[in-house]
């Protein structure tokens, strides 16, 4: 693109493209996009990114439905009888349990289980460089594992080809959600989400409270039918009077085995600080000896293990669903305006820079962790141009990515690989690939703001 060259550009020749770019930019500016909208995993988001769910969540309504129907039947048909014959606390306890179950279930389903964001292009390239010692042209890469020592135990870290990083210990890639999840337990279809580090405690409280609820309803229904049949009628008559009880009995009977079994199993896992994944794979079972287990994560104390798993500090979500995407919109606006900028005079370099400084300031204010960087596949990062203006008074650096200069032309010309944010305006990107640099930290953006005044002075001569 000739716009990348450091020479005078005839604005008339570009009258079409800035226009269309401007329109496109305006359109885009109206709808700033959030990161959840471009999330690469197979997840569904609700409430503008606040709630996350797996894509295959068909069974969650069934779970909710079963719980609500059973509890509803219980409150409608069994409670009136039991309140009159026993105590009013029965529906109260039932109500509390029901609320707790539903709250835990919803919490488990809609919480980010501990998804690890995929590695950026730079990181992936860096890791590739580190493991590719031979630099050979063999197409098939060698199996990538890394062995580390945790508490005198050898743990193998596997490389995730989808997320392009070495998985931290206890992390597993869920194929259903296509995400790496920290402390991956299992993917629960009943809950419609993976169970991992961040929602395990909700999952555990869900199954425990559900066990209590099912047992409670089961017991109450049995009591109800017994009481009815004792009052001079036989059991068949009692059932006929309250058919809903039978429905509840059947549901509770079948679910109680599985729920109680699951609760027991997970209590064991919590007490030994294991995940379902590790238990099934038997990662640590071979070392059963003097110690309780060969599990390097266990504190060898049941109470400590329970506390750590269930009451430990709540880690934050790493995927930043509601953050805004790095402004493609600002990029396009900047590019458009920059193209319009007629660099008639020799000091156009400074002028272009000043204009792009302003644009970059806006960009930096919206800087986020996502960034696309041109040619990531090359072993050495292609030098991108950053425009730096130093104020005459101070030595502060102001970073702005803006102008493409002849120096960086070779970087510019390369068509950039998939820009993950579905940006279709590749032409503009080749003008200013420098826009797609990693966003600098807010520190430097602040210093940019401070110096924002300076460049304007240089800008003015261009007016005539």
């Amino acid at each position: 693109m000739k716009n990348c060259e450091y020479q005078q550009i005839d604005p008339r020749a570009l009258s079409v493209s800035p226009q269309s770019a401007q329109n496109h930019a305006d359109k885009k500016l109206q709808r700033p996009r959030r990161k959840w909208q471009v999330f690469p995993g197979k997840n569904r988001f609700f409430c503008d990114g606040r709630l996350i769910l797996a894509r295959q969540n068909g069974i969650l309504p069934l779970t909710l439905g079963l719980i609500i129907v059973t509890s509803g039947l219980f409150f409608a048909f069994d409670c009136p009888f039991l309140v009159t014959h026993l105590t009013v606390f029965i529906p109260v306890i039932g109500g509390v349990l029901f609320m707790f179950v539903v709250a835990s279930l919803l919490r488990t389903s809609f919480t980010d289980p501990g998804i690890l964001p995929r590695a950026t292009a730079d990181e992936a390239a860096d890791i590739e460089r580190q493991i590719d010692t031979s630099g050979s042209s063999t197409y098939r890469p060698p199996p990538r594992t890394k062995e580390i020592l945790i508490n005198q135990q050898v743990v193998k870290l596997k490389y995730c080809f989808t997320c392009k990083m070495f998985r931290p210990p206890r992390t597993s890639h869920c194929s259903l959600c296509d995400n790496c999840v920290e402390r991956f337990d299992h993917h629960c279809p009943w809950v419609g989400n993976c169970v991992g580090k961040r929602n395990y405690r909700y999952f555990y409280s869900f199954i425990i409270s559900l066990s209590f609820l099912t047992s409670f309803i089961f017991g109450c229904v049995i009591t109800h039918i017994t009481l009815r049949s004792q009052a001079g009628k036989n059991i068949v008559q009692a059932i006929q009077e309250s058919p809903a009880s039978v429905v509840e009995l059947v549901i509770c009977f079948f679910s109680i085995w599985s729920i109680l079994g699951l609760s027991g199993f997970h209590t064991y896992l919590v007490a030994s600080n294991l995940t379902t994944n590790e238990d099934i794979k038997g990662s640590w079972s071979s070392k059963r000896g003097a110690e309780e287990s060969g599990n390097p994560y266990s504190y060898n104390n049941i109470i400590t293990n329970c506390c750590v798993t269930l009451c430990g500090p709540m880690p934050p979500s790493l995927i930043d669903r509601r953050g805004f995407l790095p402004p493609d919109e600002v990029i396009s606006v900047a590019a458009a305006s920059e193209v319009e900028l007629p660099p008639f005079i020799p000091k156009s370099e400074a002028n272009m820079c000043t204009q792009s400084t302003k644009d970059a300031l806006e960009r930096m204010l919206h800087s986020t962790d996502l960034h696309g960087l041109c040619p990531s596949g090359t072993p050495k990062t292609t030098p991108m141009v950053l425009e730096v203006l130093s104020a005459p008074e101070t030595k502060e650096l102001s970073l702005s990515s803006g102008c493409s200069h002849q120096l960086a032309r070779q970087a510019v010309v390369d068509p950039c690989p998939p820009f993950s944010k579905n940006n279709r305006r590749d032409s503009l990107h080749s003008i200013n690939p420098a826009f797609r640099l990693a966003s600098p930290s807010p520190t430097l953006s602040r210093s940019v703001l401070v110096l924002g005044e300076g460049p304007d002075i240089v800008f003015s001569p261009q007016q005539h």
């Binding site: 964001p117 730079d122 945790i150 508490n151 390097p296 500090p313 934050p316 820079c353 030098p383």
Partner: protein
């Protein structure tokens, strides 16, 4: 106003150190690419402070258990009004990194990126190269 150019010459990634388990800890080994720019001691001090801050965030103790239990009792609605201990420490870390960048790294043409922006996988250090060109005005 003398414009000068800084190019991103390379990036160094400090990986996680899993020797103590799954807690968030970064390697303190001084990368060779920074040898010309930075003091080894300075770097190690930065990394050690970061590690200490993360350890503080993930510390298991009476306070964190209390927070967990209180949250459970209020059906986790308490987090609508107050932020977790972890989040408070993350803010502290962000301030620390900003401070380090201003004082130590930016003057040397380096830039630390907050690990939380990289999913706590790496500490990314961007190395800038000064390529001042003459303006010829």
């Amino acid at each position: 106003m003398k414009p000068c150019l800084l190019t991103v010459s390379s990036k160094v990634f400090i990986q996680r150190d899993y020797s103590s388990g799954t807690i968030c800890k970064f390697q303190t080994k001084f990368p060779s690419e920074l040898e010309s720019r930075l003091d080894k001691q300075q770097f190690e001090e930065t990394m050690q402070t970061l590690n200490n801050l993360y350890a503080e965030a993930e510390k298991l103790g009476g306070k964190s258990y209390l927070e967990g239990c209180l949250a459970c009792l209020t059906a986790y609605t308490i987090f609508l009004c107050m932020e977790t201990h972890y989040e408070k420490v993350l803010k502290k870390i962000a301030r620390y990194i900003k401070d380090q960048n201003e004082k130590i790294y930016a003057p040397r043409g380096l830039l630390l990126t907050d690990p939380i922006e990289r999913g706590l996988r790496v500490v990314e250090i961007t190395i800038f190269e000064d390529r001042t060109i003459s303006s010829g005005r």
